[in-house]
Amino acid sequence: MEILAPLLQYLISGLTNGAIYALIALGFGIIYNATTIINFAQGEMVMLGALCAISIYHVNPSLPLAFAGGVAMVTVIGLVFERLALRPVRDPSPISLIIITVGGAVFIKGIAMLLWGKDPYSLPPFTSNVPIGLGPATILPQNLWVLGVGALLVLFLEAFLRLTLVGKAMRACAYNPRAARLVGISTGRMVQLSFGLSAALGAAGGILIAPLTLGVYDMGTMLGLKGFSAAILGGLGSILGGVLGGLLLGVAESLASGLISSGYRDAVAFLILLVALFIRPQGLLGGKQ
Amino acid sequence: MAVNDISFGVPAGLVKAVIGPNGAGKTTLFNLITGFLAPQRGRILYREQEIQSLPAYAVASLGIARTFQLVQLFDHMTVLENVMVGRHRLSRAGLFSGGLRLPWARREEAAIRDKALEALEFVGLADRAAQPAAVLPLGLKRLLEIARSLASEPSLLLLDEPASGLDRVETERLGEMILTLRDRGITILLVEHDMSLTMEVADDIAVLNYGRLIAEGPPRAIQKHPEVIAAYLGTDWQG
């Protein structure tokens, strides 16, 4: 029982962080499917989501408004980023695209630092902050919000891609862009959509986690990297893989930081990434390379 | 394109042509032989050695060189440097020996340069040696690609539509070049749409259609082969 309580506690916090990683991983996957680009600026969308929502909340203290406003603003930023930084690219080789999106990430982070400064901001939890007992452990209502909304978003995404015409068109583009163009799907539009969609997912993740971790200009880098690790771990471009990878990564690093040392928490996440690259580069649920 | 159950031999020291309508699987066949694609089953033998599971660079190291249907030059390098890369498999200077210009590496480098120039002279591009490869017109690019593969001293050379984009005069010169190479003992496997060129240089022809071998034999027999005529009727028989 003495061992079980902290383990359960690590599991809860690991799943919570993992849900955020999963949302970011899905963002990576959506863009990758549409363009085969890895958007290294994805993590910054998470940061922007949190900070925009916090700023909106300061003007008008309504959480639903802050959530919707934050997501909407970042979606627009994602679309603008695609329009300004990626569409004009003259040489779409992987190395150019890596440098451009890394540059974009750094640029966005720098702008955020100028706008919001280096101090962290808090966002109140969505509902009460009273811990709920769960056997020997406790869980915060915000943890439940993260898990619940996260799961909902994943289901929405899945439904969107499977059931709607636009979603089907996006999947068609991912499978075979040339054939998709032949049947009249505008791939340019799909690329745009993928950037908007993944920015929105990232922003939602940032707003969900902000009440637990605070929002600060440099939070996006690490979250983005872990989201990518999750995507690689699960299999880049697979929804279920992204979710699985995110949750696994979150739990693993939470356990490691609790049982070994909290300082090495982030190192564990990347160690998992390196090991995954070694053993199964296509990811847990990825197809052949 | 898929290729199925093709079985044929390339006699050493001759020019063998592979023809067939668009989409017959000729380029796929080339990619299989040169290790750019791995066959799902079957064997590819080169001098009694199985090569079907070798990666492309290893196939090349055995002396099998190729050109590409869409010319693949090293655009940011000079014409001469392009051909010098062809000597890669026959030379061995590494980071240290090459970087430090050890005496033997220096000699090797000089030999690479000489052999490369020789290959350029053979195709008639020696006077363009110092230009960036990218500025050459298409016809000369094809010749440069041939020079580059020749520099690797192949015993088997695969030419993937070498005449496409060439004018009449250039095509004629290409034909002579292919025959000269054969006389030097290089076995040549040729994919070509230009029928007059093919009939002129080939000793032996294999006809593919829909990934299958439908006929094989000397040019005269192939021209009269009923199945070949049927396969080409109504399709884009070129040349």
Binding site: - | Y57, M77, V85
Partner: protein
Amino acid sequence: MRLPRLLNRWLLFTAAVFLIALLMENEYYLTLLNFIGIHTLLVVGLNLLMGYAGQISLGHAAFFGLGAYTSGILTVTYGLNPWLAMLAGMIISGVAAFLIGIPALKLRGYYLAMATLGFGVIVYIVFTEAQAWTGGPSGLAGIPALHLAGLSFDTPWKLYLLIWMVVILILILSASIVDSRIGRALRALHDSEAAAESLGVNTQRLKLLIFVWSALYASLAGSLFAHTMNFIAPSSFDIMFSIKLVTMVVVGGMASVWGSLLGAGVLTILPEVLVFFHDFEVVIFGGILMVVMIFLPRGLVRGLLDLKEFRRYKRQGGAFPV
């Protein structure tokens, strides 16, 4: 004709380096030049990888740090000869690069970028957390100066001579590699991997080789850095520094040994002379990366040179790739 011209250029450069040493007395400027030299070593190596092999490392600060910390720890804690420690650093960095490179280079595109980024984060965390060895966030002090034949490199002036001699040697070596068999194979694989393979170039092994090689340069630079500063702390080896190195490559131009010197010079001096730079540093570096790569994918200097060459050859009727 080629060789004498090349030699001349190097002689001129060496003469300029020594002339500066004779004339320059201001220690601040000398120190700045020393940093430029160290950055140049890093950027040349990274440029071989990015400009020639077409791969990218987003964790080069880690190899720089491995060199610095290996030198620091082995000399301070274990009293080892600094030159041996430098060698040990290079071995460790080389092995690390080799181990990361094997899986990452088997896959195309993004995997080396991601693996090096992850590696960079891990190494940075270890520098911070392994306090017993590294001194943690407060750093490792008391790293001795390098000695050679009774001469101690302990002033900015002497260090200047040492560092720039190394820079000259490495630049010559790198330019020479680019112009050798391996260099040609590298440039070839950057332009067409298929064609390079078809000529017998084992592209995967070549990429690995050059990645390890660039890690060795970075480690060497790190050791020099440690013995120059006599003090090191993790903050010198964070992700942002890796990204700054990439920016230096991009500014200097891909596939350009001389451009590396220029990129390192410009981006080391700018933050020093422009007071406002500090606040906007991150934005400026990010902006440079995006704008240059969108419009001049081969980098700033290289891109401009290409444009010049393009005009020269346009008359002959070919399209020069930009």
